[in-house]
């Protein structure tokens, strides 16, 4: 039981890290101010439990101020981890207070992870599951069943629909498996049950996309109450998630599939017209009345607004040109033909959205207004035509979303048409990139709607850039260090080889034989002195391929293999997970292994290398993005014009956050230890170093700035021996691990106040 500025917080562990206390303090201040916050705390210091226990305590004490916690994480395993922590907390609560728990907390994931229908759940791919589910549960299908009882049915959904809504999910903590169990016991569909229960749950744990991706958010999250606290965990890449959710890429294949979609639409319309013309008339009438309902809802503040559905649309009726189904299909066809003609280019075209709109008007006489209604109109049509398998229509949905977006936003987007990929200039593969350059567009509704949004991660440095690119004003911005009883991380910057050749992955020296050789000798020497697992990151797949090929020729690989086995990450997911499995096995049985992987790849983001799985991580080069990409160039330009962020600053920031992510993989807690080797002399510069998270930065001494390979080896040897000494919990107590009494001592409180670094 902790007292955090007057708020009594139940904390389910006997000991607490000082930074956890400090974190809760800042969090409480953010909630008090009903504002947004950016908090950086190293991984492995119990961020999740601090967040949960404080917010739950807040909810219990001020149920009217904060009624819901929405916890967004990235992957399913992460979601499960959060739920487990929450379960521990809730059990602790009921043990302490003696009363049974009245909190409802649940995780939500896609149908793929929740479906219990024997046939549907046997499908592997998410899209197929969604489509199949839709064919069984869509409202008009169920309506048809009244006349034709032979149609297949999902009894779980039917049962849920019949009784499930009257009986709310009993209080408790549900992870995905719990939901499935509950669903099986009652014969209810767990997915729809979870979605329905979101409304009255106290805590919801789900993926980012349920809030940020406008297509999904509209279905799932729009009715969530305003008095919610939203937490984005592992949010260092949140701007890219926002951008991806608003960007559209159209290739020739998309257009072909769209063509077939449109044809199907046309045929269906024809058929319906012959059998049931009233249905189309009804739709027409509804469209005349406009989207008033949606407008009312937004005004009364019931819904989270959808950035794809701009305000202006709501006030107007669907324009006459696309009101009837045939006209709309004709309209789509024309639009499609236009896009096809645009893709027949031989050189790269980049234009702004107004330019694009003008062009489309000139060429095929399509006005801006009908374009804006395109997405809404298509949805209405699909509903009217009672098309079961929505998944088939993803292409046309994509195109219509594109139409709406392109006509809605005159700023923040750019259109780039590339006739071929940069790497294969001879193969024609035209792609139209409609790319969002402003991450704030997607996340704006979230900031506007919810009273507190917390953005947190292990690596958010430099903190001030996030509010700028996401365009919001935080009330707290803090970075927390890791208090350590022993310095368990050892960042080293290796800038030179033993022959004094400067090590760098910069473009000019990329092919340099001497640099590659020195990188090789660095890895070789490290493989001899670091126990168990080493993870090495390269800046790109291509760079990795080149270097590994050169190492093979020079015989370096052979030498390395005497010490450790080598595994390589490839773009193929199955291959990579196989390599990972073998890598872990080799670490486990003492053979030792090296994993060669790529910054920004799967390994660098989602996979933790606890303890012996990663005793050292080597970052070969600075992981800049591919700067020649036109999309990136456009985005940089936009950032400079709109947010006054210089290109170089953003590029460095982006490179450093990925580097920090990569090296952060090895330290997953205070008992863990690991070497972090930055093998590029550019890391020594203040502008790079200064952008690393504070908890890494403060361990880089001046003496470890520009080391040669040999010096690094000596330092590492020393470090590894020190770390191998017995380390018990008692050694941590009072320093980095506190009991309640220790926490309350005056001296400690003073120390704690220095942990948070405000910016």
């Amino acid at each position: 039981m902790l007292n955090i500025e007057g708020l009594l917080v139940h904390f389910p562990y006997d000991y607490i890290y000082p930074e956890q206390y400090s974190y809760m303090l800042e969090l409480k201040r953010t909630l008090d101010a009903k504002g947004h916050g950016v908090l950086e705390m190293p991984s492995g210091t119990g961020k999740t439990i601090s967040l949960l226990s404080l917010i739950v305590a807040y909810q219990k004490v001020f149920p009217l101020e904060v009624s819901k916690l929405i916890y967004c994480s990235r992957t399913v395993p992460e979601i499960e981890k959060v739920v487990e922590e929450l379960r521990k907390l809730m059990e602790y609560y009921s043990k302490q207070t003696g009363e049974s728990n009245n909190f409802l907390a649940l995780a939500l994931s896609s149908r793929k992870n929740l479906c219990i229908h024997p046939e549907v759940s046997s499908l592997r791919v998410g899209k197929e599951v969604d489509g199949k589910c839709h064919t069984l549960t869509a409202s008009y299908i169920r309506a048809q069943r009244h006349s034709d009882p032979d149609l297949p049915v999902c009894r779980f959904y039917e049962d849920f629909d019949a009784v499930g809504r009257q009986m709310p999910l009993p209080a408790g903590v549900y992870n995905l498996d719990d939901l499935k169990d509950f669903g099986k016991r009652n014969g209810w569909c767990p997915y729809y049950l979870a979605r329905y229960s979101l409304m009255h749950a106290n805590i919801v744990v789900y993926s980012y996309h349920y809030l940020l991706d406008p297509k999904i958010a509209d279905l799932v999250s729009k009715e969530l109450t305003k008095k919610s606290v939203v937490v984005f965990d592992e949010a260092h890449n949140i701007d890219n998630v926002c951008i991806d959710s608003m960007s559209v890429n159209i290739s020739r294949r998309t257009l072909d599939r769209c063509q077939t979609n449109v044809e199907t639409l046309q045929n269906t319309i024809q058929k319906i017209k012959e059998t049931d013309a009233t249905k189309l008339k009804m739709e027409y009438r509804r469209l005349v009345e406009g989207l008033k309902e949606a407008n009312v809802a937004r005004e009364t503040d019931v819904y989270l607004s959808n950035p794809v559905l701009p305000d202006e649309i709501l006030q107007e009726a669907v324009p006459g040109t696309i009101r009837t189904a045939e006209h709309f299909v004709g309209f789509l066809k024309r639009f499609l033909e236009y896009l096809k003609s645009r893709l027949r280019v031989h050189h790269v075209v980049q234009e702004s959205t107004p330019q694009f709109l003008k062009d489309i008007f000139d060429k095929v006489c399509i006005d801006r207004k009908p374009l804006r209604f395109c997405a809404e109109r298509l949805r209405s049509l699909l509903r009217t035509l009672e098309i079961a398998d929505i998944a088939d229509f993803s292409a046309v949905t994509l195109i219509s979303n594109f139409a709406t977006l392109v006509s809605t936003y005159s700023q923040g987007f750019t259109i780039i048409i590339e006739p071929f990929e940069d790497r294969t200039p001879t193969i024609a593969n035209p792609v139209l990139h409609f790319s969002c350059m402003d991450p704030s567009i997607a996340i704006k509704p979230v900031f506007q709607r919810f009273q507190s949004v917390i953005i947190t991660s292990g690596t958010l440095s430099p903190l001030d850039i996030y509010p700028r690119i996401l365009d919001f004003r935080p009330v707290t911005m803090a970075s927390f260090t890791m208090t350590l009883a022993r310095t368990c991380l050892c960042p080293l910057i290796v800038g030179r080889g033993n022959d004094q050749v400067a090590l760098s992955s910069k473009f000019e020296t990329r092919e340099d034989f001497a640099v590659i050789r020195n990188y090789g000798s660095l890895l070789q020497e490290m493989s001899a002195i670091v126990p168990d697992g080493i993870v090495a990151f390269f800046t790109s797949y291509m760079y990795m391929e080149n270097i590994v090929a050169a190492w093979y020729e020079q015989g370096i690989l052979e030498n390395i293999q005497r010490n450790k086995l080598i595994f390589i990450e490839t773009p193929d997911a199955a291959e990579t997970s196989m390599a990972l499995e073998k890598y872990q096995e080799a670490c486990e049985n003492g053979r030792g292994a090296i994993l060669l992987s790529v910054a920004r790849g799967k390994v660098s983001e989602g996979i933790d290398f606890v303890h012996h799985f990663g005793r050292a991580v080597i970052m070969f080069g600075v992981p800049y993005v591919y700067t020649q990409s036109r999309i990136l160039k456009a985005r940089l330009e936009y950032l400079r014009d709109q947010f006054q962020i210089r290109e170089n600053d953003f590029l460095t920031f982006d490179a450093m956050r990925h580097a920090a992510q990569c090296v952060g993989r090895v330290i997953r807690g205070k008992t863990d230890y690991g070497l972090m080797i930055f093998a590029d002399k550019r890391y020594a510069r203040a502008d790079k170093r200064g952008k690393l998270p504070r908890w890494i930065q403060e361990h880089i001494s001046d003496g470890s700035l520009n080391l040669t390979v040999d010096e690094a080896v000596q330092l590492s040897k020393h470090f590894l021996r020190q770390m191998a000494q017995p380390f018990r919990q008692e050694d941590q107590l009072g320093l980095s691990l506190l009991t309640l009494e220790q926490l309350e001592s005056e001296e400690m409180l003073k120390k704690i106040s220095q942990i948070a670094h405000q910016t």
Binding site: T483, H611, Q714
Partner: protein, 387 residues
């Protein structure tokens, strides 16, 4: 780096940051220096080993020495192999000094194989001779933890249940090249109640952590040569016997040493059974079957009786009645002149140690010396003799 074998000069040695050892910790306790943690564990060792525990006095220990390529590393001077072998020599002597009725065998591993250097035997001389010879071995390839443990089990598993079965591995390499899954072997070791301890020369390896944790041994990694010695000496003391080991009375013979004169008719017939080759006149005769041995302790090869001498047993005695731990207190509390009663040096450390029975004050080093070597408090003895 040049790889010449002879590097004795300081400036030729590794890049050492000597100044960093001296670094004062200004932020107070935020970064507790490793030295302090080490000091505490040193103390802990002294206090921990006391108390009335049953100790496995009859030990069978297999020493596995890594002779792989990594032993050529020069971070111990002149190289790891030479330094370790030298330390192991002193260990062997100390081991038999403290555990006179125990046995020891040495296994080396290199180039993915394991070989027996000496068999399990109670004679320190043979081991030491073998170790001296081993200095010249060429370090090759990778070690095999599996093969060496497997080899050790072959002999250990035949040892009687009331004795302890131990393996101590000196591992320099960070990798091991095994023919089969070592986890299975660990299970076998556990079922055979073999205790495996590891001293790592470079860094903490996961498989050793698991191995030692599962079999109840200890795992340490050296910091430098003196630390290495300290860690080795930890294994000199007999470990507490596992509660499941058999409990039985052991028949022992206490043979007399008889020097026969050349004229003695009987003596000429008897050849020393233990060392085989050389003839000697004197020797120990088994009280049961009169086989002659030149050295003790030994297990009679004829009738299987354990032969020891009384002083041997007496030397093991202090393990049973250890000296009480000294109480630690801060130096400031001491009112009188601050001198250690044993070495007469000034007490400079921040804590002192006093004997609970005679209240004499000692420094850390003397405390360790008294507990490790003397096994009795010098001041108490002094008081007894001068009443």
């Amino acid at each position: 780096m040049d790889e010449e074998p002879e590097r004795t000069k300081r400036w030729e040695g590794g890049y050492e940051r000597t100044w960093e050892v001296l670094k004062e910790d200004e932020s107070g306790s935020l970064k507790a220096t490793v030295e302090e943690i080490l000091f505490q564990s040193k103390r802990k060792r002294v206090t921990e080993s006391h108390g009335q525990v049953r100790l496995g006095m009859m030990r069978h220990l297999h020493l596995v020495v890594d002779c792989s390529r990594s032993m050529e590393d020069q971070d111990l001077k002149p190289n790891r192999l030479t330094a370790s072998l030298k330390l192991i020599e002193t260990f062997v002597e100390e081991y038999f000094d403290q555990n006179p009725i125990s046995q020891l065998g040495i296994i080396t591993t290199k180039n993915k194989r394991a070989e027996k250097l000496t068999d399990l035997a109670g004679n320190p001389k043979k081991h030491i001779v073998a170790l001296k010879k081993a200095v010249d071995t060429v370090c090759l390839g990778e070690p095999s933890l599996y093969n060496s443990l497997h080899l050790a089990i072959q002999t250990l598993k035949h040892m009687p249940g009331h004795t302890s079965r131990e393996i101590l591995v000196i591992l320099s390499s960070l990798t091991t090249c095994d023919p089969a899954n070592i986890c299975e072997l660990i299970k076998t070791l556990k079922s055979l109640k073999v205790r495996v301890s590891v001293i790592g020369l470079s860094a903490e390896v996961r498989v050793c952590t698991v191995l030692t944790r599962e079999t109840g041994g200890s795992y340490h990694v050296i910091l430098d040569e003196s630390h290495f010695k300290e860690l080795l000496m930890l294994h000199v003391k007999p470990p507490p016997a596992s509660s499941s080991s058999e409990c039985s009375l052991i028949r022992m013979g206490f043979p007399q040493h008889i020097i026969a004169s050349l004229t003695d008719q009987e003596a000429n017939a008897a050849i020393s059974t233990s060392s085989g080759a050389d003839l000697s006149l004197g020797g120990y005769f088994c009280p049961q079957c009169h086989a002659k041995y030149t050295e003790l302790p030994v297990e009679c090869k004829v009738c299987g009786l354990t032969l020891v001498s009384a002083p041997h047993l007496a030397r093991s005695f202090h393990h049973l009645f250890p000296l009480q731990a000294f109480t630690e207190s801060p130096t400031e509390q001491l009112q009188k002149d601050r001198f250690c009663q044993a070495c007469q040096g000034e007490l400079k450390d921040k804590s002192i140690f006093s004997c609970p029975s005679c209240c004499s004050v000692f420094c850390v080093e003397c405390d360790l010396f008294i507990h490790d070597s003397l096994h009795c408090c010098p001041c108490c003895i002094h008081n007894q003799s001068n009443p």
